[in-house]
Symmetry: C2
Subunit: 528 residues, 2 copies
C-alpha cells in the first residue's frame, strides 16, 4: 500500500504545492508519513464540475448497474482489510479488532444499498390513472418517483474512519440514490481515506462509471469544506461531527443564493432513564451494561449514553456504587486524536469545577505516558441542580457520564420534558414501570430518533427499520436517518410526469411494470 498524499480528483490527482499535513498516531503522538497536500479551491471546483458532468450519465443508470458499482467497492474494501487493520488502527487509535468489525459494517452497508436499488421499489413509484371522461375536466395520467439530486458533498467523521467516512453510509446512500460524491477526507485519517478512495476509484473504472462520480479532497482547515458546501453545483451535504462544525455548514448552506439540505449528525448525550422496577431487580447488571456502553471505543460513539437518571428507591445506591467501581477500574484508552483528547480533558476539567457536581469516580490516569489516553470520569449531581445548569446535559465526547439523582417520578418527568434533541433515549424498566411512566415514553418520542428498552444505545444496527437521527441539535434535520436503508431518501426528491408516453418514462413508471417493483397505483400497493 503506497500512499501518495494527494487528493483524488476524478481520474487525476491533486497538484503538489500548498499547505500539507500528516496523520498523527494518537497512541504515540508521532506523525505518520506521507505528507498530505491540501486541495486548492480550483481543485475543489474541478471536482464538483466533474461530478456535475458525471451526474448526467450516472443518473441514467439502472439500479442493477449502480448496485454492481457498490458491490465492486465492497469487494475492493474486503481486499484491503488487512492493510486497513494496520493503518486505520494507527491513525485512529482504535484497536485492530474494532477496525475489522467496522470494515465488515462498511461492506455490509454497501451491499445492503446494492440490494435495495437492485430490487428497486425504494423509488416510491406512484401511478394515478387517467379518466378522460371526468367532468368538468379530464383526469390526467400522473406518475411520480424519487430521483437523485446531483453532486453530494460528504464529510468523513473522525470516530468511524470507515463506516462513516470515505465509503461510509453517506457515500453509499448518495451513490445508491444516483448521485456523484465528493468526499472531504477527515484529517485524522488521511491514509485510510486515500486507500479507500483508491478502491472507489478503481471500482468506478472497472464498472465503467463516468469520471467525476467520485473525488476525495484533502484540507487541513475549514476552507476547503466551506468551498464545497457553497459551490453552486453541490446539491446536498452529509456530515458527521461536532455541533459547532455541523451548525457552521448548516448556516453556510442556508445562506446560499439557492439553499441546499445539510444532513449533519452532531451532538447527542443519549439520556438513560432507570425506572423503579428495573432498578430494584437488576441494578448491578444495568451498571455493568452502562459502563460498557460509556467506555466502549473510549466513549467516542455518537450514541454514547452520557447521562443517566436514577430515581430514589431500592437499587439506586447499588447502581451508583457499581457504576463507580467499574468506572474507577477502567483503563485509560487511546482517543482518536490529540485534539479530541485535549477537548475531552478540557470539558471534564470544567465540569469538575462546577460546585454542584461531584466527581465520583476516575479511571486509570495515564497523563505521564505519551499519547492521547482518555481517563474515564463519572460525575454525579442531583436533579434540581441538573435542571438549573443546562451545560450538564451537553455532550462530553469521551469516556465520561453523569449520574443524576431524582427524588421522585415528577423530577424524572420534568427532566425529560426539558431535554433537547438527542439521537437516542434509553429506558430500563419492567412492563409495570412502562405503564406507570407511560408519559415518559410519549415525551421521549418527541425528543429522539430511537428509543431503546432494556438495552444500551451504542451498537447501531444497519437495517430497514433503523433511525439514526433525531431533532436538532442531534441532527440538522430530524426527518432523516443517516443509518439504514431510509438514509437513501436524504439524497433524492420526487418528480412527477403528467400524460407522458410510456416510451419517455423511466422504467420504474412504465406501463406493465417491467421492473416488477412495488408501486402505489390509485392509492393501492401492487406489483402488477
Amino acid at each position: 500500500m503506497e500512499l501518495k498524499g494527494r487528493s483524488i480528483i476524478g481520474w487525476g490527482s491533486g497538484e503538489p504545492g500548498g499547505r500539507t499535513f500528516t496523520a498523527i498516531n494518537p497512541a504515540t503522538a508521532q506523525s505518520m508519513p506521507p505528507s498530505y497536500v491540501c486541495a486548492s479551491l480550483q481543485e475543489v471546483d474541478r471536482a464538483v464540475r466533474l461530478a456535475a458532468e458525471a451526474f448526467e450519465n450516472y443518473r441514467r443508470l439502472s439500479g442493477k448497474d449502480k448496485a454492481a458499482f457498490l458491490r465492486e467497492i465492497a469487494t475492493g474494501i474486503e481486499g484491503i482489510a488487512d492493510a486497513l487493520a494496520v493503518r486505520t488502527s494507527q491513525e485512529s487509535g482504535l484497536p485492530e479488532a474494532r477496525i475489522r468489525t467496522e470494515t465488515g459494517r462498511t461492506v455490509f452497508q454497501l451491499r445492503l444499498f446494492a440490494q435495495l436499488i437492485e430490487e428497486g421499489s425504494w423509488v416510491n413509484a406512484r401511478l394515478d390513472r387517467p379518466d378522460p371522461a371526468r367532468k368538468p375536466v379530464p383526469k390526467p395520467d400522473l406518475r411520480s418517483m424519487w430521483r437523485p439530486l446531483g453532486p453530494v458533498a460528504v464529510f468523513g467523521s473522525s470516530n468511524f474512519p470507515l463506516a462513516f467516512s470515505v465509503a461510509g453510509g453517506d457515500t453509499a446512500s448518495a451513490f445508491a440514490a444516483g448521485n456523484p460524491v465528493i468526499v472531504k477526507a477527515h484529517s485524522a485519517h488521511p491514509g485510510t481515506s486515500e486507500v479507500v478512495g483508491e478502491v472507489i476509484r478503481a471500482a468506478a473504472r472497472t464498472r465503467k462509471m463516468p469520471e467525476g462520480i467520485f473525488s476525495l479532497i484533502y484540507g487541513a482547515g475549514a476552507e476547503v469544506g466551506m468551498a464545497l458546501v457553497k459551490h453552486p453545483l453541490v446539491k446536498a451535504v452529509g456530515f458527521t461531527g461536532s455541533e459547532s462544525g455541523g451548525r457552521a455548514l448548516m448556516d453556510a448552506a442556508a445562506a446560499r443564493p439557492n439553499p441546499i439540505p445539510v444532513y449533519a449528525e452532531m451532538g447527542s448525550t443519549n439520556p438513560v432513564f432507570l425506572l423503579p422496577g428495573a432498578l430494584a431487580s437488576r441494578a448491578a447488571q444495568i451498571a455493568e451494561g452502562m459502563h460498557g456502553s460509556v467506555t466502549l471505543g473510549a466513549g467516542q460513539f455518537c450514541t454514547k449514553p452520557g447521562m443517566v437518571f436514577v430515581p430514589a428507591g431500592p437499587g439506586a445506591e447499588d447502581f451508583a456504587q457499581a457504576l463507580m467501581r467499574r468506572m474507577a477500574d477502567s483503563p485509560a484508552q487511546v482517543m482518536l486524536t490529540p485534539q479530541i483528547h485535549s477537548a475531552y480533558n478540557g470539558l471534564v476539567a470544567a465540569r469538575s469545577k462546577e460546585s454542584s457536581v461531584a466527581v465520583v469516580a476516575e479511571g486509570e490516569d495515564s497523563s505521564s505516558v505519551p499519547g492521547a489516553r482518555g481517563k474515564a470520569t463519572l460525575f454525579a449531581v442531583d436533579a434540581r441542580e441538573f435542571a438549573r445548569n443546562p451545560g450538564l446535559a451537553e455532550e462530553i465526547f469521551g469516556p465520561s457520564a453523569i449520574v443524576v439523582s431524582c427524588a421522585n417520578r415528577a423530577e424524572v418527568i420534568e427532566i425529560a420534558r426539558g431535554l433537547d434533541g438527542h439521537l437516542t433515549a434509553t429506558i430500563h424498566g419492567t412492563e409495570d414501570d412502562l405503564r406507570e411512566y407511560y408519559d415518559l415514553v410519549e415525551i421521549l418520542e418527541q425528543k429522539v430518533g430511537r428509543l431503546v428498552f432494556n438495552g444500551f444505545p451504542t451498537g447501531v444496527e444497519v437495517g430497514h427499520a433503523m433511525i439514526h437521527g433525531g431533532p436538532y441539535p442531534a441532527t440538522a434535520d430530524g426527518r432523516s436517518t443517516s443509518v439504514g436503508t431510509q438514509a437513501i431518501y436524504r439524497f433524492a426528491r420526487p418528480v412527477c410526469y403528467q400524460n407522458f408516453p410510456t416510451s419517455a418514462l423511466p422504467d420504474e413508471l412504465k406501463d406493465g411494470n417491467p421492473l416488477h417493483i412495488w408501486r402505489l397505483v390509485d392509492g393501492s400497493l401492487t406489483k402488477d
Copy 2:
C-alpha cells in the same frame, strides 16, 4: 354569517385594541366590514402554547379519530358553501363559480387525507425482526414509523383563499399527520378565513379535540408571522406566497437556536417548450391552450406558464400570431388585491422598457375603470437576449407571458440548462420529438417537480402521485410536495423503537399487525 373580526385562539378570541385592517374588494376598491384586529404577540404566544398542550393529546389519537375530525371540517365547509361563494368572491375578485370549484377541492383534500390516515399505511411502519442467536452480538428487535412533529404554523395564500388557506392542503396534511395548526390568515381575505376558521373550531369541539388544536391569527404586517416562525414551540412552517416572503421565513427559521423546516411554495415561471413536430401540426391549438392557461384566474396561479420557448420552423410564426391575437382579445380581469395589481403593473412596465423585449400583444385596458383589473400582456424576445437577461425568467404574477424565439435545438437545450428551479415544465411534442430532444427531458427532470406532456400546468390534480414542489426558488425544499397525499410527510419524522414490549408500542408496530396496514418486515412489504 356574522363576522367578529377577531383572531381565534383556542376556544377563545383575540382581544380588541391594537391595529386593525379590513378586507378590500378588489373589484370596487371599497373596504368591507368588519374591522379585523391584529393579534398581539402575547396572543401569538398563547396560541402556540395551547397548540403545544393540545399536541400531547392529539398525537395519541388513532387515524380513525383524526379522520373523523377532518371529515367534520369538510362537512362544515360544504355547509357554508353559499356564504363562501359570496364573501370569498368579494374578497378575492375571483368569480363565484371558481370559488365553488375551489370549495370542492378543499373538501376533497380534507377527505383524501382522512382516507389516507384511516387506512393507516402512510406511517411507513418497518419491522426488522430480532435474532438473539446472532454472533458476535444479538440482533435487536427494531420497529419504526413516522410520527408528528408538533405545532405547525401555516400561512394562508392570497391566490387560493380556500384550498391553500385556513383549511387548505397545509392545514389538512398537518392535522392528518397528527399536529396542531396555527394559521396566520392572509390579510386579503380575513372574512373567508374567519368563517372557515369557525368551521374548524366547531368541528374540533364536536369531535372533542383538545383546545389549541387550531388557532387563527390576524396580522397586517410581518410581525405576527415572524413571531410564529421564531416561536420555540413551533416545529414546522407551511407557506404559499412570494419568493421574498418565503425566503424571509426560511432565513428566520434557519437562524433559530433550533432550526425548523420551512415548506415555502414560492416563485415559479413554469417554462413551456414547443418541439418541432407539435409546432408543425397544431400550432394554433397549442396557442389556444397556452392563452387559457396564462389568463386563467387572471394569471394568478403558481403554475401559470410564464415563458414559452419556440424553435424556428414550421408553425412557429402561426403559434406566435395565434397567441398574440388571443392575448389582444383578452378582457381585463379583476386581480386578487390592489397591491398585487399594482405589483403586476410595475413588473409589466419594467419589462416593457427592456430594449431587447417587444410588447407584442396587450389585452383590454381598463385603467379608467375603478378596481384592480389586470391587462393581459404578451412579450417576445429572442433566445440570445433571454439568456443574457436573467430577469426575463422571473415570475410576473398575473396574466402575462413571454415568447422566446430559439434559432435551433442547441439554443433550446442551452436555455433549459440555464433554468432555475420551477414547479413545472411543459413539453409539447410528438414521440419523435421526445426522442430527438431526449436530453431536454433529462435536464428538466432536474429543474422541476412536475413535467407535463402535451398539456398545460395549471390545474394541479390532488392525488397520490402529484408532486407540487421543485428545486429552489420554486420551493424552499425540493424534496417535498404541498399537494397530494405525500404532503403529509412534511409534518412528520421517523421514530424507532428498539426491543420494546408490544404493549408499549404504537398500534401500527404491534405484533400481529392489529391495524392491518402495509408494513416492511425484514425488507418485504406485507400486511401480515
